[in-house]
Structures are given as structure tokens and as C-alpha cells.
């Protein structure tokens, strides 16, 4: 019995460790970094939009899976990179804030959003 209980404990502890670990999200390092950058730079407008903004930034989930940007244009890495770097409408340019690699990581994370 003790052996069975210990076995169960070990099994569940492993499940616990994996389930609660930050690495249990199934993301690559690049996607995980992209997620952090997304939360800091994109989510303040695209997830919790300030109602006082002239235009309410759309949520970005499913952009790549549907193949269309919120504007209706085809969702391509080039188009999203261009928007991130140079801004669009009231969205500011992030060229001074994000490196090329940062933008790549954000793009990789955006691809994971369904």
C-alpha cells in the first residue's frame, strides 16, 4: 500500500510540477518572450482598451488563423511587422521601443493566438 501511495504521490507531483510550471504553456522561448512583450506593449491597448481612445484597438486573437487583419487586409508577417514598427492610425510606432528580434518574437506569439 505504502508503495502504491508513494507511486501515486510521485505521479501527481510530476503532474503538478508540469501543470504549474511556466514551461507548461507549450510555447517556444521566442513565443514566450513574445508573450511578455505583447503583455507589456500591446495588451494595454488591444486587450484592455482605454474607452477614452479615439479608436478602440481590436483584439488580435485569431488574426493569423483567419488570415485577415482587423482592417480586413491579408494577415502577413510583413504587414504586421510594418504596423508594429511604423504605427498605423493612432497606434504609435514601436521602432524605437522594440528590436527586430522583439518584433519577431511578438509575431511568433501572435501566431499562437487562436
Amino acid at each position: 500500500m505504502n508503495r502504491q501511495v508513494m507511486g501515486l504521490l510521485v505521479l501527481l507531483s510530476t503532474v503538478f510540477a508540469v501543470a504549474c510550471s511556466d514551461r507548461a504553456d507549450g510555447l517556444t522561448d521566442s513565443e514566450r518572450n513574445g508573450k511578455s512583450l505583447f503583455i507589456l506593449n500591446c495588451a494595454p491597448c488591444h486587450e484592455d482598451s482605454n474607452p477614452e481612445l479615439k479608436v478602440h484597438p481590436p483584439r488580435l486573437n485569431g488574426m493569423f488563423s483567419t488570415g485577415k487583419l482587423p482592417s480586413g487586409e491579408p494577415a502577413t508577417d510583413e504587414q504586421v511587422r510594418e504596423t508594429l514598427v511604423h504605427g498605423r492610425g493612432i497606434m504609435p510606432a514601436f521602432d524605437q521601443r522594440l528590436t527586430k528580434d522583439d518584433v519577431t518574437d511578438i509575431l511568433n506569439y501572435l501566431h499562437t493566438l487562436k
Partner: protein, 297 residues
């Protein structure tokens, strides 16, 4: 036997559930309090990089501890824990410790300014979105609402909010030509290196529904760095570059038609309040004009 096994299983399951729910993370913050808003229990902190959570920047944080909120004053240097939940979407300050109170007297923040209400505004030179130079004094005779921005600002509660609400005021005033003639909106950038005339023009058009005619009533301007420092000092604006970003306070100024400072705002305002105050000053233009007409008769 079965009962014992089930108890063990439930205990371990409980551990898993409790463990997984405990997702709050804490990060060390070190910075200076720039503004304090007791109404929303928020302080705006200019802080150093928070490793693993946030780059160095100025932003508002909620403070849940009422004693800490009461104790903190603008100018204080603090250390605190940034508690986070929901993957960093929710965050607030805990365990606030004031490490230096000497900045309280000298803190030039928010609406603390050198130009008092009623003082005339100096003739600062500016260059607008079309590259045309002008002076603040050229706007005399109109009620002027002036706000400070930089076009790269990524904080939705700062420059994008200010410009969005100026856009709303501009739309309201545009409904009546007489209101347009007696008022002027002015957004002044404190990032002249990046915010050149073409950048300001592109930025302005985004808030003017791509109608360049709107620039006649709402100009976007910058000035050279030396004049900018004087301008900022005159109106109590605090800003400094940190890496590739600019930390700054928010300042909106209402300048009366006689060229004197009529009112200041920091972060606490609504578009309706700004517009009401602007219209109130605007009416003095009409009154003055009517008085002149009567005197002439």
C-alpha cells in the same frame, strides 16, 4: 483501505488545485513618486527597470494599502513589491517603503509650475506640422487649450488619451464656425528629435480623420531642445529620456485670449471639463468684441 487511498488522493488533488491557483508573482520596484491620486488610489511612479516584468518607465500603479497611500507624497523615492495576477494584466503595489523623503519639497510634478494662473505666457517659438514657425503669442485673441505629447507614446492613459480627447473637443467645436474662430487647440511635442514636422503631420491626421483642413484649428508643434526646456519649465512639465522612451508627466494648459494662464490640469480631467473651461474663456472673446463694438458706437 479504499477510504485511506481516497483520502490520500484527495489530499494530493487539493495540493495541486491550491498550488495552481497561487499564480501571483511579485517583482521589486524602485522609483520616485511623481503624482498621487487619492480618488483612484493610484500613484504615478517613475521607476527603474523591473527585471522580468517591465522596462524602466513612468506609469500609474494602484496601491491597496490605505496607510501606504496616505503616507506617500510626490517626490518620495520608494521601494515596493509589484504584485501581479492574471499573467501580469492586473498589478498593484504592496509593501511600500519610502527610502527618501527629501524630494518632497523640490518635486516639480503634475500641476506644479513656474507660471502661476494669471501670469502672461512667454512668446515661445514653435514649428508646426507643416514646418511653419510661429509664436505662442500669435494665438492671442483666442482661447487656447495646449497639451504636451510625444507621438511614440505607447501608454494609452497618457498621450493617446490626451490626443483622443482633444479630437473629441475639436469635433464639438467644429460644429459651430464661431466657436472655431474663437478657440485653438495646440499639441506640443517634447520629442523634437523624432517628432519632425512630417511625423507630427501624420500623427495629427490620424486624430483629424485624415482631414488636413483641421490643422487650422488644431496644430501639432515642436520646438528646438533649448526652447523646449524653457517651455517645460514654464508649464511644469517633467520629462526625460530613458533608453528609447520618454518618461513624462501630463500637463494641459488653458491660455486665456489675453495670453495669460487660465488653468492647469494633470492627469485628472475629462474632455467635458476641458471643453467647458475652454468655452468659458472663449466667451470672453465675444464679450470683449461686443464691448469694443459698443465703445466704438
Amino acid at each position: 483501505m479504499i477510504v485511506k487511498r481516497t483520502l490520500w488522493f484527495m489530499l494530493v488533488l487539493l495540493l495541486i488545485v491550491v498550488g495552481c491557483q497561487h499564480k501571483e508573482k511579485r517583482y521589486k520596484l524602485h522609483g520616485q513618486v511623481l503624482e498621487k491620486d487619492p480618488a483612484s488610489n493610484e500613484v504615478t511612479v517613475d521607476h527603474q527597470e523591473i527585471p522580468g516584468f517591465m522596462a524602466a518607465m513612468t506609469m500609474p500603479y494602484e496601491v491597496k494599502d490605505a496607510d501606504a497611500m496616505r503616507e506617500m507624497q510626490p517626490g518620495d523615492v520608494i521601494e515596493a513589491d509589484v504584485a501581479t495576477a492574471n499573467g501580469g494584466k492586473d498589478y498593484w503595489l504592496e509593501h511600500v517603503r519610502i527610502t527618501d523623503r527629501s524630494g518632497r519639497q523640490s518635486a516639480k510634478v503634475g500641476t506644479v509650475h513656474h507660471l502661476d494662473i494669471g501670469e502672461p505666457v512667454p512668446d515661445f517659438p514653435l514649428t508646426n506640422q507643416d514646418g511653419k514657425t510661429f509664436k505662442l503669442g500669435d494665438l492671442r485673441g483666442k482661447a487656447v487649450l495646449m497639451g504636451f505629447i510625444y507621438t511614440r507614446c505607447p501608454m494609452p492613459n497618457f498621450c493617446p488619451r490626451l490626443s483622443s480627447q482633444f479630437s473629441k473637443i475639436n469635433e464639438d467645436l467644429s460644429k459651430t464656425p464661431d466657436d472655431l474662430n474663437r478657440t485653438q487647440l495646440l499639441s506640443v511635442s517634447f520629442d523634437p528629435k523624432y517628432d519632425t514636422a512630417p511625423v507630427l503631420r501624420k500623427y495629427g491626421l490620424a486624430y483629424l480623420d485624415n482631414n488636413p483642413a483641421g490643422f487650422s484649428h488644431w496644430e501639432f508643434a515642436s520646438t528646438d531642445p533649448a526652447d523646449l526646456r524653457n517651455l517645460a519649465e514654464a508649464f511644469g512639465l517633467e520629462f526625460f529620456e530613458e533608453g528609447n522612451q520618454i518618461s513624462h508627466t501630463m500637463v494641459i494648459v488653458l491660455i486665456a485670449p489675453d495670453g495669460k494662464v487660465a488653468k492647469y490640469w494633470g492627469t485628472e480631467w475629462t474632455a467635458a471639463e476641458l471643453e467647458d473651461a475652454l468655452r468659458k474663456e472663449m466667451r470672453t472673446v465675444k464679450t470683449a468684441a461686443i464691448s469694443e463694438e459698443r465703445t466704438g458706437q
